[in-house]
Structure formats: structure tokens, C-alpha cells
């Protein structure tokens, strides 16, 4: 039985619409960058670009006057800045998870979405990294956090979780970028080969790194990809664990919690999947990718969302239980009183309902497979997970030990501008990515198609019974995706 074949006993479905041809896959994906952009893309892009502009203006003002233009204050020294940071880092998690872990576990269904998810990771981590960069009081001295040798022998403070963060997120970004880029190389070569203009050829050619699709190239490529996947895998767990230690190692009730590392990782995967789904649903409809992104993929993602929702819900419940069980006055006052009934009770409701209650819809197959439902639910989860970080950060800080220093955080217009601005930056980058790069991995999708099987016969589902002498079934279709036909296909 061929691996691309669905296991009927498990009620599996084919990963690519049955009957799809290899050239159709190539054409569907590669031609996006060759055609004029559809109207939908332009609309999305202009909106995203507007928000990027807002972001630029707000950040320029922030640099000009200081972080005081935001609303964070004593005692809430971190508010939307770090909320956004953790939110974006969390979103960035799904990429690695889908690419690396599912790759290692040979979950072939990931092929439809892994490029997306990886792209999303990169862009989300870029958005995340913006915040530690701009939230500091003196951004022009940010290089102090790096262990740069200097004659004062002055080093960063290796005890500080914030420094661990610098390393963790930096590593994550670097590895994710390499992983993404490595996966792109064969597809970039395809785009190069299909290029009709000089500049396209040069640019795609430059980034394709001279890929010719030789066996040797493929061998190295497969090995490199596997190694990077293996390196990325622990990072899925480490990054958000380290981010959570920013909070867990502090003394503040609501932060000082040992459950944080696994809780944060679960939350990150949860929010990452939700964001992948949101973006995927948009792209699927704008670029008409229904052939590759099947309902089966979406349903699988929804099951994953349900699982992680339960994990996150468990963590919420456990925090409450431990606060009560500890008997610690400050912990109890925080979890049992301030969170559900304090000044930010509404944020707490926004955390619990979208993250724990709404995903329960996915117990029902009709809900799991309804595009409108999943779009709305994914948006809710994105919002809910933002509020989770808001609750953890702001509502822990606003009422800590001494009631005299309690205070409220009130966001300013610049807070809103920078946050919505990063969403604009994210989508700007994402839309550019969708427009100019293969947003679905042609190589890997083709690998899951029946044609990839050496024993493939186009006539039926039981190739071993078919005519094995069909001379070159593949040539009938289209050149092997990355052998790189010299005649651009778009020319036909």
C-alpha cells in the first residue's frame, strides 16, 4: 500500500484532490507570482500597508518622545508592549511545530500548510521582536543586552530571564528563518525556471542558490532539512518556556507560577494554529487554493485547536486551584479576587470564553468542517489569546503586594497604533510573501501525490496491479517539480 494512499479504516481522505496533476499543482502555486495580483490581494495589501504606515508614524513618535507616549506606568510597567510580544511569539510557534515536529513524525498532511505556517512564524517573530526593541526606554543602547566583549569587561546579567529571552527568541528566529529558506530553495528554482523576465530570473536565481535538482542536491537538501527540523523541535518547547520564565522567575503573584512553561507552550501552539487557520482561510479563498488546502487539513487543525484549548483550560483551572491550595494570601487575592472581579475582570472573561468555551464547538463535526464557523472561531481564539497575555501581564501587575501602590493601566492611542500597526506589518509581509513566493510547498505537496510513487499508474488505485511498463508517466504530466525545465511553463 502506498503511503500517499488514505487509510480507509481511519476514514482518511486524500491529501491532494484526487485526479490533480503535478503540473496543475505547479501552475496553481507558481503562477500566483506570475499573474497580476488579484483585486482581493490589492485590497488586503493596501489595508495592511495603511496599518504599516500607522505603525511607522507611531514608532517614530515613540522614539521622539519616549515610552511615556504609551500607557504603561507604575505599577504596570509592562502592558501592551509585552502582551503583544508574547502574543506574536506565541503565534510564531505553530510554524515550527507544523514544519518540524510534524515533519519528523511524517505527518504528510502538513504539506499543504507548512510553508504558510513557516512564513507566518517568521513574520510573527519579526513582529514580536519589534516590541523588546522599541519598548525599552533607551532603544539606542539596546546592544547592551548582547554579550559583546568590551574593555570594561561589562557583561549582561546572565541571571536575568530577559537575557535568556534574547537568546531564546534570537535562536528561534534564526533557526526558523534558515528552516524556511532551506525548504524554499527547490521551489525558488522552479520559479526561476518559469521566469520570463531578466529581473525575475536574477532574483529568484540568486535565492535559488544554483539549485539544479540533481540527485546530490536532493540528498543534501533532504538531510539539511531533516537536521534543521531536529534542531527546531526542541525550540518549540524552549522559546515559550523561556518567555514564560520572564514571569515565572519573578516574585509577583500571578507571575510566580511553576506551571508557566508548559502552560505557555500549549497556549502558544493554540494561538499559533488559530492564526495559521485565519491566514490560511483568507489565502485559500483569495488565491483559490482549494485543491491543496482541503477540508481535511482544516478539520485536523480544528481538532488540534480543541486539544490545545483543553490544555490551556486545564492550566487556567490549575492556577486557580493552586492559588487556593497554597493558602498564600497574595496568591489568593490575585487569582481568586483580582482576576475575576478586579478592574480587569472583562479581560479575564475575554480570556476564558474564547479560549476555553468557544472551541468546544469543535466536538461537533459540522462545526469543525464549516468554513465560516472556523474563521470566526479562529479570530476569537486570536483575541482570546491576546487577552490571556494581557491578563497575565497587566492584571498581575496592577494589584501586587502593597495596596498603596495599586494602580490602573490605561492604553493610549499610540498603544493602539503600534499594536494594530504590527498586525499591518505582519500582513504586509505576509501578502508580499504570498504574492512573490510559493506559498505552498510545491515540492512537498507533489511528494504526497500518487504520482510521487515510483509504482504510480494513472489508471487506478492499485498500482501494483497496473501496467508497470508505462514508460515515463511523469513526463506526460509535467517535469519533476524541481528538475527545472528549461522552457518556462508560463510561456505555453
Amino acid at each position: 500500500m502506498a503511503y500517499w494512499e488514505p487509510i480507509r479504516e481511519l476514514d482518511e481522505q486524500p491529501l491532494v484532490e484526487p485526479g490533480s496533476k503535478l503540473r496543475e499543482v505547479t501552475h496553481d502555486i507558481a503562477s500566483v507570482s506570475e499573474r497580476p495580483a488579484p483585486r482581493g490581494w490589492w485590497i488586503c495589501f493596501l489595508i495592511a500597508l495603511t496599518f504599516t504606515g500607522i505603525f511607522t508614524v507611531c514608532v517614530a513618535y515613540l522614539f521622539y518622545r519616549g515610552v511615556g507616549v504609551w500607557g504603561n506606568t507604575s505599577p504596570v510597567y509592562w502592558a501592551w508592549d509585552i502582551t503583544n510580544f508574547v502574543w506574536w511569539v506565541g503565534i510564531g510557534h505553530a510554524g515550527t511545530l507544523i514544519s518540524a515536529i510534524l515533519f519528523i513524525f511524517r505527518q504528510k498532511w502538513r504539506t499543504a500548510i507548512n510553508r504558510f505556517a513557516e512564513g507566518m512564524t517568521i513574520f510573527a517573530v519579526i513582529c514580536a521582536l519589534i516590541f523588546p526593541g522599541i519598548h525599552v526606554g533607551r532603544p539606542w543602547l539596546l546592544f547592551y543586552v548582547f554579550p559583546l566583549p568590551n574593555q570594561m569587561t561589562l557583561w549582561p546579567n546572565f541571571k536575568s530571564p530577559l537575557l535568556w529571552d534574547v537568546f531564546a527568541v534570537g535562536t528561534y528566529f534564526t533557526v526558523s528563518l534558515l528552516f524556511w529558506y532551506t525548504g524554499l530553495i527547490p521551489d525558488l528554482a522552479t520559479l526561476r525556471d518559469r521566469s520570463l523576465t531578466k529581473w525575475r530570473q536574477r532574483i529568484y536565481g540568486f535565492f535559488a542558490l544554483g539549485w539544479r535538482g540533481s540527485n546530490r542536491h536532493w540528498r543534501h537538501y533532504e538531510r539539511a532539512y531533516l537536521i534543521l527540523a531536529a534542531i527546531s523541535t526542541p525550540l518549540v518547547l524552549s522559546v515559550h518556556s523561556v518567555v514564560s520564565m520572564d514571569f515565572a522567575t519573578s516574585v509577583i503573584p500571578g507571575w510566580h507560577t511553576t506551571i508557566f512553561p508548559p502552560y505557555f507552550v500549549a497556549g502558544a501552539i493554540f494561538s499559533g494554529f488559530a492564526m495559521v487557520e485565519t491566514v490560511l482561510l483568507i489565502a485559500r479563498s483569495v488565491f483559490n487554493l482549494k485543491r491543496v488546502v482541503l477540508m481535511r487539513h482544516l478539520e485536523l487543525m480544528n481538532k488540534f485547536l480543541l486539544l490545545t484549548s483543553l490544555l490551556v483550560g486545564y492550566a487556567y483551572a490549575m492556577e486557580f486551584f493552586m492559588a487556593w491550595y497554597s493558602g498564600n494570601q497574595y496568591e489568593m487575592a490575585h487569582f481568586l479576587v483580582n482576576r475575576p472581579t478586579g478592574p480587569y475582570w472583562w479581560a479575564w472573561v475575554w480570556m476564558v470564553v474564547p479560549n476555553c468555551v468557544i472551541p468546544q464547538l469543535y466536538w461537533f463535526k459540522r462545526m469543525r468542517t464549516s468554513i465560516p464557523v472556523m474563521f470566526v472561531v479562529s479570530i476569537f481564539i486570536n483575541i482570546g489569546m491576546w487577552f490571556e497575555r494581557f491578563v497575565i501581564i497587566v492584571s498581575s501587575l496592577n494589584r501586587d503586594f502593597l495596596p498603596s501602590s495599586w494602580g490602573l493601566f490605561r492604553p493610549t492611542i499610540i498603544d493602539v497604533g503600534v499594536f494594530t500597526g504590527t498586525i499591518g506589518v505582519f500582513f504586509t509581509l505576509f501578502l508580499l510573501f504570498m504574492r512573490w513566493l510559493p506559498m505552498v510547498s510545491m515540492t512537498e505537496v507533489k511528494g504526497t501525490m500518487p504520482q510521487a510513487d515510483p509504482h504510480y499508474s494513472p489508471k487506478g488505485a492499485h498500482p501494483e496491479e497496473e501496467d508497470e511498463h508505462d514508460p515515463l508517466p511523469i513526463i506526460d504530466e509535467t517535469p519533476m517539480p524541481s528538475t527545472g525545465g528549461l522552457v518556462p511553463e508560463g510561456a505555453e
Binding site: F63, G66, V69, P75, V136, S250
Partner: protein
């Protein structure tokens, strides 16, 4: 480091005659200042170019060295000069720190009897007033800039017209004064114009107390309360710890009477009857809230009750019984208080607040006399100006004279009557009816606007003067800097008007001092000094005495150095005239209350007094002791009254007394008397300056000549307008049952001396890292005695002044970004044992600054090592290294770290004028870094003081002495609540203090090991009151 590069400011001021000559001959004019600014601007143009190129980097500034080095000025080594400022009926002796000719910091003068080394928040903030860029800089005629020459000519011409009728139509108006020189000048003026009259007016004065003493003793006397010697103190509407005359001294002595070194010590007991929560009421062991208008009746009833307990009051008793009508207080407040007073004969004190009518003051004198207080718990002293009249009557007399067209020229020296005169006089409009009006003042204010002439007045730190303290001690006021804005002092103006030969302030003051010294030594009839400086005089016994100029010089210099003029004190023992008191009580007239159900009380603002400090940013941003509001006053209501009126915090109410009314926003304070609305004077200024204009609510329109203290029968109605915008520094009032501010009653303390430690949870958290060894060398530490702290806020301003703490403005305070390194947490306490309920909670104050944790949570989390631990136990901030992640602020359980969210000095209250004014930068302490935007800051234990003391000790090859290093907060604290020193040295005060049984570490259960620890508060309630 920042240095003032203004060459027009002389660097050195001393008692040297050279200075006096320069100062008088060429008063620095506004033009000179302007020119120098232009020069400066030119010089700085290049700097600005650099700043532009640097983008958001710290702006560069040039440090200009001396080209010719002045003698006695060592750059970097401050000099200290003793001086004095007038404070209502008192004078406060001060020592001013001066850096290269710039006065920067105020401290109390230990040799001065009103200070004993302490200072209050107003004294601390007065240094900023000196540098206020909005002070008047130039004389103005009819609002148009003129010169001093024009003014002198104009004034001389006007005065010349009065010579023929002896000045009948000339009037002077000035605040009551305690300056012997000013009084001498006034006498001299009276010689030139015998029929001219000097009126005195100040919105906040001790007239009632003087009138009360006059009834009781036949002459006005100052009463010096010995709060340290009293076992029982009953304060009737008296905020002696904060807003009454002599508050610093009272605070010192009161704290001394309640200091507990161990559980074997005893402490005094304070009963307070008051309408609004005051600092004194907050310190009370028993507090009775009573409308201010009912306190007199309570006093009379108490007198009757005292008589029943065998305290002889003779005729007063009968009169008091007759006057004690409508007293509605818990019976124990009469029976128990009277019993307690009677029991403590010779150890008891009754203190009456200045706004209570004279009869109550007279009655208190009678009671104190009967209780054997004189000589035991109080002494009397002569007043500086025995002829001073009741301010309201005096101002009314002037007002009537203007109406009767008897005034042709009115010279107003200081004060701001157009703004703060009683509303029924309509004084501001009457000023226009006088042909020539002259107003000398620091600011071109409401009164200046209405006058034909305005001249800038020199600040107290810019001019010569003298002042007599409550106890009669005379202190000298010497200038610390030449007038910044071409102002002249009252003394100089009066001398000019009186045509006196001594036209400079120094000559005038010196002449007065010589006179005082000669009188004190009984020397009279001196011949003029010959060229060898010899003079022949008559001694006290009538025999000839030889006097050399040198002796006077020596005494003068010594007086300047000490700050006080040494002379033998003559104790005053006035005799009580009980029948007169009885007659006054019997004849007492109570203004008929209006139809309303409420009373309104007027109290001087603890920050702005009567509005004179309205343009002071430090004071504007200082949280109110009780409400913790900043940049505003409010109409204080009790929760029950607010409910009755249907108003909540921030709602606007209209308060009407007769046909006069004001609108103010409500703030609800538990413990405020029901149906009494407390209003603070001094706010809502219209012409105070950029900082003070329109802040808060002007309550003067409600105040009339006969209702200066309070007005009964006002109506309060909700206006229904949009709620007002208030900013508060502390928004939560309760400890939430957390073990953070420990207190006990005296009985509990004796039973369980270490209650504070026992009530604190034990440290649970283990240290994360290897612990440092703190057993060697200096280890700095501090204790704060919650039992002594009255929450008076002096330390907060002292810290701002010492450490260049910026002001952020009302909106930023509302956000929570106030920068005060030390804050005073105020919690309401409900506790049955002390009779504190939700409606009438007790108060505990807990001053909090960085506690310098040995295991500091902030240090672990800083990614760049910007905050680290010093070898002497200080939690240190390296501003240069800080990038502003604010993680330390989050992880500080005490929330004492303050972040420069913006470039506060330039980008907050002074933003519109292009940044911190040049003059205000002159105030800044050159030994403390001025922090730029984006860095975290916090209390350093005044590390600059530690370092300079260590350097001094090292140069003198000795150890640092205990008490040599005093932090700014500690030094100014009038209650000596703060002790700082080396906790590693068993001989230090702080070592002893940390071994006190009441000690506890705040949040020590987190394992922070704080270096600042607290001594729990002990209250001394009377079990009979329960």
C-alpha cells in the same frame, strides 16, 4: 553634571561688606539678565547643533570654568549659610546649602528653637520659589514695564505731597510681621508720616489666638507648648502638627513625648476634636469629629466638666456653662476627657486652633492655668508686634477708609489681598478707587494687576532681614544670592519711604541687631564710635561701659554663623484675668448661621498656605496628606453627607453662603464630620503663573470678615455637571488585611513587645543565589518609626530637592507616573480596640522608599546589570547602563522604582516654555545626576551624602562618625522618625534602633531582606473611652 552658566549671578554671597556695596549700588536689572541670556544663547547655539545631530541622545552641555576664582568657593564643595524665614506668627531658622553661589537645598537650623534641625515641606519647597521663572522681573506702571528709577521718582513725588498733612491719606498694607527691622522701619515711617496708618492682613493669621491671649492676660502673648512634657494633650480644632504656627517645633516635641525605646517607656495621649481630618487628627489616639462651629460649645462644656473634677476655673466656669449650648457629643468625650485632664495636672495641655474664636483661646488659657500647665507643659513669650490688630478688622478699616475716600495712596508690601481678602469687602474693586496703589510682590499677581504700580519684591533668600520666633529668639536672614529678578525687599522699600539713611537691607538689619544686642546687655547711651572704633556707654547698673566696634562685629558675625542672635531670654509670666475671660465668654457673639444644613470650614492648605505657593511645581505635585490628591484641592465631604447629597467623588457641588457661592468638586473622606464641608484655601488662582493658574477651586468667594474660619448654615447642592478630573497618588485606602503596617495599642505592646515581628509572616522564600557577605565594612541601613511619622510630607519635598526629582504634571500622575522617590502610604484602619470604624477609621502612615533589599528582586532581573548591589549594602542604579526595560520596576514588590517615561524635566509641566527654565536648573544638586528619559531611578540612601562624608573622613584620617551622614528625608523629618547609619557598628543609633522590639521588615516574608526596616506604630487609647 550641570552647572549654571549664568555669569550675571554672583557666585559668592557672604556677610562681607563688599557684597553689600555691590548689591546696593548696582541692583542687577532685568536688562542685564536678558543680555546675559542672549550671550548665553549665542554660546549655546553650537551645542544645539550638536543636540540636533545626536537625535534622541542626551543633550550635551558645556561646563564653563571660572576665569577668576572667587575666594572661599571651592567648586564641588558646598557652603552652608544660616538664615531664617518668616512663618505666620513664627520664624523658622534654616541652613541653606549653596553650590558655587547657588542655593540648592534647605535644612532646618539646629540652633533655632522653632526648628531644632527639622524643616517642613513649605520650607523645603521655598527654594524652588526663589528660582521660579515666572517671578516678576521688572517694575510696572499700570501693567506696562517701567524702571526702578521711574518708580522711585513717582513714589518720592507722591510721598512728598503727604508731608504737609503728615500722611493722613497714606496707608500701608502688609502681612503681619515678626521682623524687628520691619517694625523699626514702620516706626521710622510713622515719624515721617505720623498720621499714616499701617494695616495688616493675611488670609491665614493668628489673630484669634492673639485676641484670646489679650482677653486672658490683657496682652497678646505667644504660647510655647511643651508637647514633650505633656502626658495628655487635648487639641480643639488645632492642627498644631501641620498648619498652625510653630508646627516644626510642635512636631519635634510631640514625637519626643511619644518616643518608645522599649516597651517600658510611656507615651503621651492625644485627644483631637476637629471637623476635617488633619495631620494632627490622624495622629490622635482619640478623635472626635465635630463641626468646627460646635467646637467652641464643646470647649465650654469641657470647662464645666473640668470644674466638676476639681479644676478651679472660678467665674469662667459659670460663663462657660451658660455658653455650652447644643453640645451633642458622646458623654465620654466630656466626662472621661475632663477626668483625664484633671488627673494629669501639671502634665496636661489644651491646645486651640487658630480659627476658633478668641473666647475659646481665652478659655484654654484659663484651663491650662488651672491645670498647672504654665511653667510645666507650656511657657509664654512676648509677641514681636504687640500693636498688631485683628487682620479682618484691620482690613475692614482700610476698606471702609477707601470707601470714605480717605485714602489717596496705598502701598501694599507683599500679600495678595485682591485675591484673598474676605469676599464681603470687595477689596479688589476698591483698589481702583485709590489714586496711587503700589504693590510689591514676588509675582505680578491678582493684586498687582489692580494696582497702579507693581514692583518686584526680593525673595527671602535674596535679601537681608530678621525674624522673631514664637519664643522670642531673633534670627538673621541673610541673602544667599543677589536678587535674580531685580527685586527689593520690604525693608529697603520701607527705608526709602521713611527717608532713612540706611537704605540697604544689611545696614538696616545690622542697626536693629546692634540695638537688640545693646538692649539685651543693658547697654544704653552709646556715643558714636570714633575712628579707632571706641564708644562710651552706660551699663545696666548705670556705670560707664567701654564698647569697641570689634565686639559688635564679633557678635554680628557669630549671629550670622549661628543663625540666631544670642541674648538672654526673659521668661514671661503673664497673669490670668479670669473675670475678663468669663465676661468675654458671656458676651460672645456667634454669627447667625444661614439657612443651609451644612457648615463650610476654611483651612490653610498644607502646601500652598493661602495661595502664595501656587506656582510651585513641587508643592502642586505633592500628594495631600489625607486625600493623596495632587494639583488640586477638593470639597471634602463625609461618606454620610455625600450619600445625603447624592454625590460621589469628582462630582461638582455648588456651595452657597447667603448670596455668595462657589463650585468645587467633591472628595469623600471617611472621618470627615457629617454635614461639614472642608475647603482648603489657596487654590483656584487666576494670576499665579503658568503652573498655578486655574488649579483647584478658589474658596475665597465664600469667606467673609466674620467667617474667616468657618461658616455655618451653607447649602450644598449637586450641579449635575460632568465629573471633575482628579489625580491621586494612592488610589487604595486599605491594607486589605495584609500584614504590612503593624500597629498595637500601648497595652498590647507592653504585653507583646515584639508584636510587629510576630504578626509578620516568617521569611519563606529561599535565596536564589549565593548570599553575599555583609558582615564587613560599612553596611548602611535605616529604620523608620511609624509611631513618630505624622505623614507631614516634609521628607517628600526634601528628597525632591536633594535628588533632582522631576515633576510630571497632573495627567501623568493620574497615569501613575509620579517620580517621588519617597512616598507616604496612608492606610485607613478599622479596629475595634481603638474605636476605629469604617465611618471613622484611624490612619497609619508608612513612608516608603527603596528598602535596599539584600536579596533584591530587581537586581536579578535586569538584563544589563544596571542595578547591582554595592559592597556597603546599597542597591545601586547605574543610570548610564540602564536601557529601561522596566523589568526591575515590575519585580519590585514595594513598587518604589520610578521610571523616566519621558524627559520629565523638559517634557512635562514646562514643555510649553521649551523645557526646564534655566533658573530652575540652578536649583539642582550638582552632586546628583539629572536623569534623562528612559532610565529607572529610585532612592539611593542619598549616596552622594554618604560619599562626601566618607571622603571627608578619609581626608581627616578617621572613621565616619555616627550621625555624620544624614539622608535628606532624615535630616528634615521634624519628628525624627528616620534613623540612618551603619548597621554593622554596634555603637550607632541605627544599630540600636534595629534592635528595638517593635521592628519589622516590610514584606520580609518574600526573602528580600530589606535594609530599611520599620518600627511598629503604638497607639495609646484610653480604656475608659471604649
Amino acid at each position: 553634571m550641570k552647572r549654571a552658566p549664568n555669569p550675571s549671578v554672583p557666585a559668592s554671597i557672604d556677610a562681607a561688606p563688599e557684597f553689600a556695596r555691590g548689591h546696593v549700588d548696582t541692583p542687577p536689572s532685568d536688562e542685564a539678565l536678558f543680555l546675559s541670556r542672549r550671550g548665553l544663547l549665542g554660546a549655546m547655539a553650537a551645542t544645539f547643533a550638536v543636540v540636533g545631530a545626536e537625535g534622541c541622545r542626551r543633550p550635551l552641555e558645556k561646563v564653563v570654568p571660572y576665569t577668576r576664582m572667587p575666594e572661599d568657593v571651592i567648586p564641588g564643595v558646598p557652603s552652608h549659610y544660616a538664615t531664617v524665614i518668616q512663618r505666620r506668627g513664627d520664624a523658622l531658622g534654616l541652613v541653606v546649602e549653596s553650590h558655587e553661589g547657588r542655593p540648592t537645598k534647605i535644612e532646618g537650623n539646629e540652633t533655632h528653637p522653632s526648628s531644632f534641625g527639622g524643616a517642613d515641606l513649605i520650607a523645603q519647597a521655598s527654594i524652588l520659589e526663589l528660582y521660579d521663572p515666572e517671578r516678576s522681573t521688572i517694575p510696572r506702571k499700570g501693567g506696562v514695564a517701567a524702571s526702578w528709577d521711574d518708580f522711585e521718582k513717582d513714589l518720592a513725588a507722591t510721598l512728598a505731597t503727604f508731608d504737609k498733612d503728615q500722611g493722613t491719606r497714606l496707608r500701608l498694607l502688609m502681612p503681619p510681621t515678626v521682623s524687628p527691622t520691619i517694625l523699626r522701619m514702620r516706626a521710622a515711617l510713622a515719624q515721617r508720616f505720623p498720621k499714616a496708618r499701617v494695616h495688616t492682613w493675611s488670609a491665614v493669621a493668628d489673630s484669634n489666638a492673639r485676641a484670646g491671649a489679650k482677653i486672658a492676660f490683657g496682652e497678646p502673648v505667644n504660647t510655647m507648648y511643651g508637647f514633650d512634657k505633656a502626658g495628655v494633650i487635648v487639641a480643639l480644632d488645632s492642627d498644631f502638627l501641620q498648619t498652625e504656627s510653630g508646627n516644626v517645633r510642635a512636631n519635634k516635641l510631640f514625637a519626643a513625648g511619644r518616643r518608645l525605646r522599649s516597651s517600658k517607656d510611656s507615651m503621651s495621649r492625644l485627644y483631637v476634636v476637629e471637623s476635617a481630618r488633619t495631620t494632627t487628627g490622624n495622629a490622635a489616639d482619640h478623635r472626635l469629629r465635630l463641626p468646627a462651629s460646635a467646637i467652641a460649645a464643646y470647649a465650654f462644656a469641657l470647662a464645666g466638666e473640668l470644674a466638676k473634677n476639681g479644676v478651679p476655673l472660678a467665674d469662667v466656669q459659670g460663663a462657660a456653662a451658660g455658653a455650652a449650648t447644643g453640645v451633642n457629643v458622646p458623654a465620654k468625650w466630656l466626662t472621661v476627657v475632663a477626668k483625664e485632664l484633671a488627673r494629669n495636672r501639671g502634665r496636661a495641655l489644651v491646645v486651640v486652633g487658630s480659627r476658633q474664636p478668641p473666647e475659646v483661646h481665652a478659655l484654654a488659657h484659663a484651663i491650662n492655668g488651672a491645670l498647672g500647665a504654665p511653667g510645666a507643659t507650656l511657657t509664654y513669650a512676648s509677641v514681636a508686634d504687640p500693636d498688631e490688630l485683628d487682620v479682618a478688622t484691620d482690613l475692614k478699616a482700610l476698606s471702609d477708609a477707601i470707601v470714605a475716600n480717605q485714602v489717596e495712596a496705598l502701598v501694599i508690601l507683599g500679600g495678595n489681598p485682591a485675591h484673598d481678602a474676605p469676599a464681603d469687602l470687595g477689596f479688589a474693586d476698591k483698589l481702583g478707587k485709590v489714586a496711587t496703589t503700589v504693590h510689591a510682590s514676588l509675582f505680578f499677581d491678582e493684586t498687582s494687576q489692580k494696582c497702579t504700580w507693581h514692583v518686584p519684591r526680593a525673595h527671602e533668600y535674596e535679601s537681608w532681614g530678621d525674624a522673631q520666633a514664637l519664643d522670642g529668639t531673633i534670627a538673621l536672614q541673610q541673602p544667599l544670592i543677589a536678587p535674580l529678578y531685580a527685586g527689593r525687599s520690604d525693608i529697603e522699600l520701607l527705608a526709602a519711604m521713611a527717608n532713612l539713611p540706611e537704605t540697604s537691607g544689611q545696614q538696616a538689619v545690622r542697626a536693629t541687631t546692634t540695638e537688640v544686642l545693646l538692649v539685651a546687655h543693658g547697654v544704653t547711651g552709646c556715643s558714636p564710635f570714633d575712628e579707632r572704633g571706641d564708644s562710651e556707654c552706660r551699663g545696666a547698673t548705670g556705670g560707664p561701659v567701654h564698647l569697641h566696634q570689634f565686639e559688635l562685629d564679633r557678635e554680628w558675625n557669630r549671629s550670622l554663623a549661628l543663625g540666631v542672635v544670642r541674648r538672654p531670654q526673659v521668661p514671661k509670666t503673664p497673669t490670668l484675668a479670669l473675670p475678663a475671660i468669663a465676661a468675654a465668654i458671656a458676651a460672645r457673639k456667634v454669627p447667625a448661621p444661614g439657612p443651609g444644613a451644612f457648615e463650610a470650614t476654611f483651612a490653610p492648605c498644607a502646601k500652598l498656605v493661602d495661595g502664595r505657593y501656587a506656582n510651585n511645581t513641587w508643592l502642586q505635585e505633592l500628594p495631600d496628606v489625607v486625600t493623596k490628591l495632587v494639583w488640586d484641592n477638593a470639597a471634602i465631604l463625609s461618606p454620610a453627607s455625600a450619600k445625603e447629597l447624592g454625590v460621589a467623588n469628582k462630582d461638582l457641588v455648588k456651595i452657597s453662603a447667603g448670596d455668595r457661592s462657589i463650585t468645587a468638586a467633591v472628595w469623600i473622606v471617611p472621618g470627615q464630620t457629617d454635614r461639614s464641608v472642608a475647603l482648603t484655601l489657596g487654590w483656584g488662582r487666576k494670576q499665579a503663573g503658568r503652573i498655578g493658574n486655574g488649579r483647584g477651586f478658589d474658596v475665597y468667594p465664600l469667606r467673609a470678615t466674620d467667617t474667616l474660619g468657618f461658616v455655618a448654615g451653607v447649602t450644598v447642592t449637586k450641579t449635575g455637571d460632568d465629573p471633575y478630573f482628579f489625580a491621586q497618588t494612592q488610589e487604595n485606602n486599605s491594607t486589605e488585611g495584609r500584614p504590612i503596617a503593624h500597629e498595637a495599642t500601648l497595652a498590647e505592646y507592653k504585653q507583646k513587645p515584639d508584636f510587629a515581628e510576630l504578626d509578620s509572616p516568617p521569611p519563606r522564600a529561599l535565596p536564589l543565589w549565593t548570599q553575599a557577605d555583609y558582615s564587613h565594612g560599612h553596611q548602611w541601613g535605616m529604620t523608620i518609626d511609624l509611631n513618630a511619622c505624622t505623614g507631614c510630607n516634609a521628607c517628600v519635598i526634601a528628597c525632591m530637592s536633594e535628588n533632582n526629582v522631576p515633576v510630571v504634571g497632573k495627567r501623568e500622575v493620574w497615569r501613575g507616573r509620579e517620580m517621588h522617590w519617597i512616598r507616604i502610604d496612608r492606610y485607613y484602619v478599622e479596629r475595634a480596640e481603638i474605636g476605629a470604624t469604617a465611618e471613622e477609621p484611624a490612619v497609619i502612615f508608612e513612608p516608603l522608599m527603596c528598602v535596599h533589599c539584600e536579596e533584591a528582586p530587581c537586581e536579578n532581573v535586569c538584563p544589563v546589570n544596571a542595578t547591582t548591589h554595592g559592597p556597603e549594602g546599597l542597591n545601586e542604579m547605574a543610570y548610564n547602563r540602564c536601557i529601561g526595560t522596566r523589568y526591575c520596576g515590575n519585580n519590585c514588590p514595594y513598587k518604589v522604582r520610578k521610571f523616566n517615561y519621558l524627559n520629565w524635566h523638559n517634557d512635562s509641566v514646562w514643555k510649553e516654555t521649551g523645557g526646564l527654565p534655566e533658573t530652575m536648573a540652578m536649583q539642582q544638586n550638582p552632586n546628583v545626576t539629572v536623569r534623562f528619559r528612559g532610565v529607572m531611578e529610585k532612592c539611593t540612601y542619598c549616596v552622594q551624602r554618604i560619599q562626601s562624608a566618607k571622603i571627608r573622613a578619609k581626608r581627616e584620617t578617621r572613621e565616619v562618625k555616627d550621625g555624620e551622614i544624614r539622608t535628606a528625608c532624615q535630616q528634615t523629618c521634624p519628628a525624627d522618625a528616620i534613623v540612618f547609619g551603619d548597621v554593622n557598628d554596634v555603637t550607632t543609633k541605627v544599630w540600636t534602633s534595629t534592635r528595638t522590639d517593635r521592628r519589622f521588615g516590610l514584606l520580609a516574608e518574600l526573602g528580600t531582606r530589606p535594609r530599611t526596616t520599620y518600627l511598629g506604630k503604638v497607639r495609646n487609647p484610653n480604656s475608659e473611652m471604649a
